[in-house]
């Protein structure tokens, strides 16, 4: 048997930076400020606004602010994180209904968490496995997601409202309680 040495051509995930962890959770007793990071995917804004509206039945919402990211394929930068952190108690990002946009909306949520702001990412059910891989790569394995049925772009306002109402309790738990694993596909 002739043995050879191979150079390993693969980069493994690096260990998370020291101190990288989700924001601390607490029950909100006073009205909160919600930031919605809209990635511009069709119906993303409508769905995020519907979720925020429905969230009010679980957590008192003082105000909501919509942030249009402009491109679904970028992650917010440090300046944006700082600006949002100054004006929001919690963040909801989305809509992750494709490979790149789900990864980048997850990246937005992870960045807000690292900055101390509880967050969640809204994705469609076909991307649960995809963002689970990205969450590990980003150093927050097992990070939660608020999962909605795919596709969203074809849903009318009434259906979006219904989806949002069904999802609001999950979002409230994710923003206030312990980080939970992604839901099962719906």
């Amino acid at each position: 048997m002739s043995m050879i040495e191979l150079v390993v051509p693969v980069l493994m995930d690096e260990p998370p930076p020291a101190g990288l962890q989700p924001a601390a959770r607490r029950a909100f007793t006073k009205p909160i400020r919600v930031a919605l990071i809209d990635n511009g995917k069709p119906k993303a804004r409508e769905l995020l606004e519907a979720i925020c509206k429905a969230l009010n039945t679980h957590i008192p919402v003082a105000s909501s602010r919509l942030i249009a990211k402009g491109s679904a394929s970028r992650v917010i930068d440090d300046e944006e994180v700082e600006a949002i952190s100054a004006q929001a108690d919690v963040v909801i990002t989305g809509l992750g209904d494709c490979g790149a946009c789900s990864a980048c909306s997850l990246g937005d949520a992870v960045k807000m968490e690292a900055a101390g702001i509880p967050a969640t990412v809204v994705i469609t059910d076909v991307f649960t496995r995809h963002i689970a891989s990205f969450a590990t790569t980003l150093g927050m394995p097992g990070y939660h997601a608020a999962v909605v049925p795919h596709p969203i772009y074809a849903k009318d306002a009434e259906t979006l409202s219904q989806i949002a109402q069904e999802l609001a309790a999950v979002v409230a738990t994710q923003l206030q309680g312990e980080a939970v694993p992604p839901q099962r596909d719906r």
Partner: protein
């Protein structure tokens, strides 16, 4: 440099088991082979080629070299591989998104300049097909580096719904056009003796047949028919593309006195599309979403907002009248084409001082699309 000892007779199967391959067999990346790659480019193994903060990954030369060995590259190809990989890490290319999109983008690589012929690249017959080692393995080395260096693999961080064969390799050389048309590297401001690498994230190539007319307008309208295909993702959304103008088609344009700029302007103008044409193909205009599909005064929407978004190169062999068209996989806000000069081995870098270089007049077109 991390190494692992295996039975030589089982090496290929071992590499399959490790998911190091693209589905085709790969050459075992022994230390000697990897060192030969690095030496050909004058790089040390720990030279950093680029990083992707959105993946917390930094790729060094030894990762690129080991993947180039696996792809089947000869060492003299490696400087071009490195140049292409450095282009991939340009933030405006946005490889984090390119390599994970459900759209399944290829990294199309175009080499312009004398280095292409020096290493035996194909710019003639079947340049997008099989048979040329340099074309096939340079493109494969870049894709393998993205897969193994950035985790862009099926079931992991590559979410391609369908994908296409160009995701294995998609690389070719420009055939320098006859005067007075400028070669691609000259259009980017480089010298005839320079060699450049241009990359673009693309869908698969469409073959364009025009064998019944030599009229420049007819030749170019054959392309715009493909450019206006409604279900192509960039149609009406301001994208980029590669046009490979085949032998007969390039001759038709040059004989008629058309310039490359004139051809690009014609293509940009005639690829504009109306909402009705989109709707006839089942596609509707996005509103209130991320893509700019604003309707112009002519009642149509730009597929290419600027003629410069069309990378037009001459290549291919003589025949009946064939060309090719490769649309970018997504609109410009998601990824931009990048061109880099091949830096000769041993060329001194500028002395930038402790704070790095400020490049005069250099800025990215937009913050959008960066990650």
């Amino acid at each position: 440099m991390s190494q692992i000892t295996v039975d030589e007779a089982e090496a290929i199967e071992f590499m399959y088991e490790q998911s190091w391959t693209d589905g085709l067999p790969v050459v075992p990346p022994t230390s000697a082979r990897v060192q030969a790659m690095l030496a050909a480019a004058g790089l040390s193994e720990d030279t950093i080629l680029g990083s992707v903060p959105s993946r917390r990954k930094t790729v060094s030369a030894n990762i690129a070299a080991s993947n180039a060995v696996m792809a089947g590259c000869r060492p003299e190809y490696f400087p071009l591989v490195v140049t292409a990989i450095e282009a991939v890490f340009d933030p405006a290319f946005n490889v984090n998104t390119v390599a994970t999109s459900t759209g399944g983008a290829a990294i199309c690589i175009i080499v312009s300049g004398p280095e292409a012929s020096r290493i035996g690249m194909n710019a003639e017959h079947n340049l997008l097909g099989s048979g040329n080692r340099a074309n096939a393995t340079i493109g494969r080395a870049v894709r393998l580096t993205v897969a193994n260096g950035l985790g862009a693999k099926t079931g992991k961080l590559d979410a391609s719904s369908i994908g296409h064969p160009g995701k294995i390799t998609l690389c070719f050389a420009e055939k320098d056009p006859d005067a007075p048309w400028p070669a691609l590297r000259l259009e980017h401001g480089y010298r005839p003796e320079d060699s450049t690498v241009t990359i673009m994230a693309t869908e698969g190539p469409r073959q364009i047949a025009q064998q019944l007319s030599e009229s420049p307008e007819d030749v170019l309208l054959a392309f715009t028919g493909a450019m206006k295909q409604p279900s192509q993702f960039i149609t009406g959304k301001r994208g980029q593309c590669v046009v490979i103008l085949g032998h007969e088609h390039a001759q038709s344009l040059r004989k008629a006195g058309w310039s490359k700029s004139q051809a690009r302007a014609f293509l940009a103008e005639h690829s504009r599309i109306s909402p009705a044409e989109l709707a006839a193909g089942g596609i509707h205009v996005e509103s209130g979403a991320q893509h700019d599909m604003s309707i112009g005064a002519d009642g149509r929407i730009a597929t290419f907002a600027d003629p410069a978004d069309i990378t037009l190169v001459t290549a291919g062999g003589a025949g009946a009248g064939w060309s090719a068209y490769l649309p970018a996989w997504a609109p410009k806000q998601h990824s931009l084409s990048i061109t880099r000069r091949l830096r000769p081995v041993g060329e001194a870098l500028p002395d930038c001082g402790p704070d790095g270089c400020a490049l005069p007049g250099f800025e990215y077109p937009s913050k959008e699309g960066l990650s």
